[in-house]
Symmetry: C2
């Protein structure tokens, strides 16, 4: 039984600084009907991710912004309710990119069919989805870790950071990281196996804290955060260090230009490299990443954590948790039950 | 006939900000005698280079600082006056690293013998020396230019920048650059063949100036300067751009931490890379660079310019010209005549 109406969350206004609840609006629309080659999906899970802050802004970026009044974009897991394509049938569960809504029509081609027996389907939005692949390709292809390297991860308890740290340990590295609460520090150490963790909010001297948690310096820095922790790390890198710029969440709500110490001289001293990465550039290698990540999860070598907020109407609140650091683990929104 | 005494310039005090004349001191010492395997050199040319500012400071860097009271380090070209090694004989001209002095004893092994018939021996301190090799390896190995790329060089009329720009043109790139005077802009265009040049001192809007001189964006940025021009370039890079950090002369006289806009988000948007380089890492490939640079100079495909200050006592003034931008071309100090 489907709901009579499709509920959607649209962008009501472009945020200035930290988004506010009234930058979003819940609207209703008819449930659409699939055409040939399409399916009707009922959303079970919605992923909220830091990159969405960029879509709310009309500043130049790597992707077009959401229009004011337009549907918020995002990854989802949904159940096929009606199919007009031979590749999918009602009851199938798929990963889609259909945004913040309870129902959607999508082309069957381009949906990833999930096997609920292999892993909980919500993992298709986390460790076995975009965040996991971001960690895999960012660390392996940009960070180029070598066994014995010292790796440091900012946002170590987050969806991407926790995966990056665990992949680095599989690659034979020693791994430390930074988080924003003592609870996350404990989680990073005890659940995700980080060798050492610092809470940047309780350290007076980030440089001293880095020397403590990375006594042999830093060969690979996987940065999800930016800002002061990144400034401090750049003063602590080793010769030929690789810095992976994966995210800069500390700056996403900045108005105007964020200022910090210039750090390029340090790159000469250390002949080091800073490189930005975007997971979509590695789309052609999705199967490789998912096969390996899936194996490591099944073997218990990679753990993941999920933080669930109930109800599409609470998706804006769930999204804002990313910026206050309230979430522990991958932030998800449960939009509908597994089965109806 | 040698002078009765060796004249030397030593570091009198660690500079605060821009070095001043009394940070240096001219002293005299006996002319040393070579032992077995050594030669006595009479300095003809001394090179002054921006990196020497780092040696005057005791801040952590890639090389140890000059001690207060110690001889200023530097590359030289000199004539062998006396030899106790079979590989060199009096009258031979060599490139050495014996610092700011009129005479020096050096181990024969480790000196580069020059052929005055192939090129003026002063070029061993410029296009056929450290600056030329810095341009070659920095551009080729870190910048990785592809034919058709748009290359931008800061410090385009300098010893390294002028070479980097010309090598980029040989590699099939379009080349623009920045300089600090209209005379240098003319020199970069007319002598060094840059396609377009901006004078950063006379532009109100560096972003607009970059769009004018690099209408197709920037694929490779070869940075000798740092500071505001680099901030502006990072806003104008293309997808997969490579930024070579070769020098940051704009900041060498800064006291404390220099602040600027944070730019790492832009690296994600453009999946771009910033990498520091140091020519000494490529020492094993010196012959490759010198063979190619020598060929390009002989073929007239690479031009160079020299700016000569007379007399060892004027070496500090020559050095300071690098920071005021007074020099046009490779700054040299003539310490002695070609032949005595």
């Amino acid at each position: 039984m489907t709901a009579a109406r499709n509920r959607q969350i649209v962008l009501a206004a472009r945020p200035q600084g930290m988004p506010r609840p009234d930058d979003f609006k819940l609207v209703e629309a008819p449930i659409p009907s699939p055409k040939d080659g399409e399916v009707l999906l009922r959303t079970i899970w919605l992923s909220v991710d830091p990159y969405m802050r960029g879509r709310m802004s009309d500043a130049a970026s790597y992707a077009a912004p959401v229009a004011v009044g337009g549907l918020m974009v995002g990854d989802t897991v949904g159940e096929v309710m009606e199919s007009r394509d031979p590749s999918l049938k009602p009851g199938d569960v798929v990963q889609a990119y259909v945004g913040w809504q309870t129902h959607a029509v999508a082309r069957a081609r381009g949906l990833r069919k999930l096997d609920p027996k292999l892993a909980p389907v919500s993992t298709a939005l986390g460790i076995l989805g975009m965040p996991g692949m971001t960690a895999y390709f960012g660390l392996i292809e940009v960070g180029k870790p070598r066994p014995g390297d010292s790796v440091f991860v900012s946002g170590a308890a987050g969806a991407v950071g926790s995966a990056a740290g665990q992949i680095a340990r599989i690659a034979g590295c020693r791994v430390a990281g930074s988080v924003g609460s003592d609870a996350k520090a404990r989680q990073a150490r005890e659940t995700f196996g980080f060798d050492d963790v610092l809470n940047y909010k309780s350290e007076n001297d980030l440089g001293a804290a880095l020397r403590r948690v990375c006594p042999n310096g830093i060969d690979v820095y996987f940065d999800n955060v930016g800002g002061p922790i990144t400034d401090a790390v750049l003063g602590h890198i080793n010769l030929h260090a690789r810095v992976v710029i994966c995210g800069q969440i500390a700056g996403y709500n900045e108005r105007g230009k964020e200022m910090g110490p210039r750090n390029l001289w340090q790159l000469i001293v250390k002949r080091a490299r800073i490189e930005g990465m975007l997971v979509s550039d590695f789309q052609a290698r999705e199967a490789e990443a998912l096969e390996r990540l899936g194996r490591w999860v099944r073997e218990g070598r990679i753990k993941y954590a999920e933080d669930v907020v109930e109800g599409l109407e609470n998706a804006p609140a769930a999204f804002l948790r990313l910026f206050t650091g309230a979430n522990t683990g991958k932030q998800l929104v449960r939009v509908g039950p597994d089965k109806i």
